[in-house]
Symmetry: C2
Subunit: 203 residues, 2 copies
């Protein structure tokens, strides 16, 4: 038996990891259940969920592959299936004709809306005080950021917390990195080229 006595004091991070993994497994099982009616695998629902939240810089196969941590070849097949089922739409980019833009089809949005894959989670967290949830969010976000830096992966945050995001007026924003103007709703979507704005510590 391999011992680990020196880890006695700081084993709480490991407990947290176990919780995250276990919750991840459960949510995966939940996704499996939610997709069973339509014979969709967990990864398909994850892709649909991602596409429902990706902004204009992040709705490509490449971005999805980075997000899911899979290869572009694998993701290509996933998208092929979703396309055959009519759950997504693919169209060429106007400027760079190599890239494919993706979005949910009406059928895809309806599926996501009806499957309600987050329902079980919402029930499970109903009795946890908003404050504790905010603290947990803050801690996990920090872990996520560090983990992504170490992995050199894209961060995938929302514009609202991005250092490139400029507020032009009440409702108009601007991405300083890409130079585009963004609507209010779009600043709440997730972006592939996100860069964290300082470190926003817990209140």
């Amino acid at each position: 038996m391999i011992r680990g006595t020196e880890a006695r004091l700081d084993k709480n991070p490991i407990v947290l990891l176990e919780l995250v993994e276990r919750l991840g497994n459960l949510m995966r099982t939940e996704l499996r259940r939610a997709g069973a009616d339509e014979s969709l695998q967990p990864v398909h629902l994850q892709a649909l969920i991602y596409l429902s939240k990706a902004n204009r810089y992040s709705n490509t196969p490449q971005a999805l592959a980075e997000y899911l941590g899979l290869t572009k070849g694998t993701v290509s097949q996933t998208l092929l299936l979703l396309d055959r089922r009519g759950l997504i739409e693919r169209f060429e980019d106007d400027i760079d004709r190599r890239v494919v833009r993706l979005r949910l089809s009406p059928a895809g949005e309806r599926l996501l809306y009806e499957a309600q894959p987050t329902l079980a989670w919402q029930n499970a967290t109903r009795n946890i005080s908003p404050n504790r949830i905010r603290n947990a969010v803050s801690a996990l976000r920090e872990a996520l950021t560090t983990l992504q830096e170490d992995n050199e992966g894209a961060p995938f945050g929302v514009c609202h917390n991005c250092s490139w995001c400029q507020k032009l007026s009440q409702r108009i924003y601007r991405c300083g990195r890409m130079g585009d103007r963004l609507s209010g709703p779009e600043t709440r979507k997730i972006c592939r080229i996100f860069e964290a704005k300082k470190t926003e510590e817990a209140a």
Copy 2:
């Protein structure tokens, strides 16, 4: 586009869910990387990790299936592979000869020790204060418990927090459910028939 304006105020739980899923994906990718040298899939490492932590009531294929949220048939194959690789040992139960007991072989323990699948996580959480981690653990544990109740799955906690656990002396404990005496180290393993002891709220 399907709207969700009424969810404006309580969307933090959803953010937390996204974080958990994203971290889950990353850890899954991490497991894939960690197992690549030995051509092991994420699920294989998860099984090994589980077996390294399961107590005497929980080291069976059935318990592992419940833990991973997979069917017993699927888990049976996984165990077959791990057995062929010499990473686990299987032996019959003395009393009920239907059940198979599992434990890591020395090679399995060495693999787990050398793969260090939790290393990236430990780095990522290094700069988060213990207090914030404790709070996050508390919140996630509560979500996990509720989620498991709703799914009617086994809770899988450690004896130390179990309502059946009795302290006989300084080092000897006893499981009131099964009637066995447990050593100190064994009370820190995870158990399939765990029942939460009250609700231990955050400090």
